[in-house]
């Protein structure tokens, strides 16, 4: 193994980690506001991938333009899901909430299966084929673009959450549901919007990886578990933590893939997960909730 292979693994890992971060940002936002662990998150990401796939295949739309369509569509899906399915069970026991999101996942995945068959599909974008050579490291264009877009999207989201009235309302609802209600925040509405934004993050991440990945109805599982790991690592509910957590997991994964045979790299990620859960369930940077 030479030095350049290691550098290559580091770059690839960081670039992919950005996307993990974006998926986890959505998950962590939903958890922060509603204390719901959303098992349908991977399925929402899968929907985003299909949006980009069909926009490209049928209409020839640039994948980086169809991100907008995917964000809007998934926001709507998320808002509706929250309003009709999650809102009634916000105060239900955790196992009920979990099984409900699992039910939503089952429905979405199998809907995709019925509509679009179990085939693995991918798109081939010509102007993305050529890699960029940087010293001895090849930068894969779609991965680089995914990373850049991830940063841009999280920056916008950060601005919205910290600087706007809506963002402050979301923060209030996440810190103290009753209190926010008392000072005039329409918590029900805010919950819907927060879930919509979370779903839109998943959708955007789906669109971003479409140019270098494949889509099938069950593809969400791969990212769902990663997203849990990342979100816990960054502290469930901690927004910036999720992005850093994504980079750490991406890096861990690509380096262990370099060093370990087969799919053992996944085990490293899960071991890290268990370790973090036990030692620092509030995440590396705190801010997460420890009482789940």
């Amino acid at each position: 193994m030479n030095i350049s292979a290691i550098f290559q693994a580091i770059t690839d890992g960081l670039l992919m980690g950005g996307v993990y971060g974006l998926v986890a940002v959505g998950l962590t936002l939903i958890f922060g506001v509603m204390q719901i662990v959303n098992f349908a998150h991977g399925a929402l990401m899968m929907l985003g991938m299909y949006v980009t796939y069909w926009a490209f295949t049928l209409l020839g739309i640039n994948p980086y333009v169809s991100i907008l369509a995917s964000i809007c569509a998934l926001f709507l899906v998320g808002f509706i899901l929250q309003r009709f399915f999650l809102d009634p069970i916000l105060n239900a026991p955790q196992h009920n909430q979990l099984l409900l999101t699992l039910g939503i996942m089952l429905v979405l995945e199998n809907l995709a299966l019925v509509l679009w068959s179990p085939d693995f599909r991918s798109i081939k974008v010509e102007w993305l084929e050529q890699g960029i050579l940087l010293g001895s490291v090849v930068l894969n264009k779609p991965r680089l673009l995914a990373f850049v877009f991830t940063l841009a999207i999280t920056a916008v989201l950060y601005y919205v959450l910290k600087k706007t009235e809506l963002g402050r309302a979301i923060q209030a609802a996440s810190q103290e549901r009753e209190g926010a209600h008392l000072v005039g925040v329409n918590v029900r509405h805010i919950n819907g919007i927060a879930f919509g934004i979370g779903a839109a993050c998943a959708g955007a991440a789906g669109s971003l990886i479409m140019p270098f990945y494949f889509v099938s109805p069950g593809v969400g599982h791969v990212f769902l578990l990663r997203a849990f790991v990342v979100a816990i690592l960054g502290g469930l509910g901690n927004f910036g933590g999720a992005l850093v957590g994504g980079l750490i997991i991406g890096l861990t994964e690509s380096l262990s893939a370099l060093l370990l045979p087969g799919s053992l790299k996944e085990m490293v990620v899960y071991l890290l997960f268990v370790g973090i859960l036990l030692v620092r369930p509030t995440g590396l940077f705190g801010g997460g909730r420890s009482n789940g």
């Binding site: 026991p93 979990l98 099984l99 089952l106 429905v107 019925v114 816990i232 899960y270 268990v274 036990l278």
Partner: protein, 345 residues
């Protein structure tokens, strides 16, 4: 007064026990009148009841929400199958070895999780992670068959947990399901069961009353793990095949816990009712519709039940029953009150 009440209670217990035995007898005689398709359905249903009850002990009674029962299921299935294929040990013995391995794993997970006070979502995610670790390990370990899994050589010696006729598997799993339901029923009124419920309802209060919650939670996890592993052995013997996804996959954990939640978490009859309702629906819709549509129906049923029956089907029945009793009592009290004129002036 107190005597008549205990007498009434005893009578009620005898009646419900008789009803349960009658139902069991009916279930045992059912294969005489149905064909092999429905026999398979019966087996899967009884198997669903068994596993959901296992989950119910740890997550329903003791309130430690497991999202990774595949860990114990897979360990049981793999241990007995490996002992059988590699060492020729009969699965009747191997299943208890598997149970022991799973119970040890349960103790290990429980020790770590409770030592570091993992609760709720965090505990559930940790159990999920352990199942995933074992899945990846089984996938990459050639000795246990890797991705190819384990093919159990066919045979028909009952001494090897392999039967000449399908109906025999049915009797085995029916007895297992009946025994575990009886166990959960007994546990509910035992000291251990009461401790577990106390821990579930309020751990701090239980500790304050002198219940060693750490110890009893570990006991609940290891019992549940041991019994779940026996179910894993049954699966391996019935289907004669096992691979990492079938043993440790997330779908396994989900299938174990769904009937218990739909039926009613922490109740004796919840897992039974849940499996009786869900399994036939899942299997019959799969026969009638394409598999995708049948899973959509399944998912929708889960969603509807969770939203409209948050305490499960048994929870709803109990509520209706209680309301009826209260209503009855209220009317009798009014009737017996002296000096209350009935109607007119």
């Amino acid at each position: 007064m107190a005597e008549t009440r205990t007498l009434a209670k005893k009578k009620k217990r005898v009646v419900s026990l008789a009803a349960a035995l009658l139902a069991l007898l009916a279930a045992a005689l059912l294969p005489q009148v149905i064909d092999s398709y429905y026999l398979n359905l019966l087996i899967i249903t009884a198997y669903g009841i068994y596993l959901a009850q296992c989950w119910n002990i740890m997550s329903g009674l003791a309130g430690q929400f497991s999202f990774g029962h595949a860990t114990f299921f897979g360990l049981g299935a793999y241990t007995s199958s490996l002992l059988f294929t590699k060492a020729g040990l009969t699965p009747w013995v191997g299943m208890f070895a598997g149970g022991a391995v799973a119970a040890l794993m349960g103790l290990f997970i429980g020790f770590l999780a409770f030592r570091y006070q993992l609760k709720g979502h965090y505990f559930a995610l940790a159990t999920l992670a352990f199942a995933e670790i074992l899945r990846v390990l089984a996938l990459n370990w050639r000795f246990v068959g890797g991705a190819m899994g384990i093919l159990i050589p066919l045979g028909n010696k009952p001494a090897n947990f392999q039967f000449p006729e399908t109906v025999h598997y049915y009797y085995v799993i029916l007895v297992m399901a009946a025994l575990i339901t009886f166990l959960v029923y007994k546990l509910g009124s035992s000291k251990l069961g009461l401790y577990l419920v106390a821990i579930r309802e309020n751990e701090e209060a239980a500790e304050a009353m002198g219940v060693n919650s750490f110890k009893y939670k570990l006991i609940a996890v290891s019992i549940s793990a041991f019994l779940t592993a026996l179910g894993g052995t049954f699966y391996a013997q019935f289907y004669s095949y096992l691979d990492p996804e079938l043993a440790f996959g997330t779908a396994v954990s989900v299938n174990i816990l769904t009937p218990a939640i739909i039926g009613g978490v922490g109740t004796v009859w919840g897992p039974v009712v849940g499996a009786l309702v869900l399994t036939p629906i899942a299997e019959l819709t799969r026969g009638l519709l394409s598999s995708g549509i049948s899973m959509i129906v399944y998912g929708l049923i889960i969603i509807v039940v969770i939203i409209y029956l948050p305490e499960g089907i048994v929870g709803l029945l109990q509520k209706v029953w209680r309301r009826r009793i209260i209503f009855k009592r209220r009317t009798t009290v009014v009737e017996n009150k002296p000096g209350v004129k009935k109607g007119g002036f």
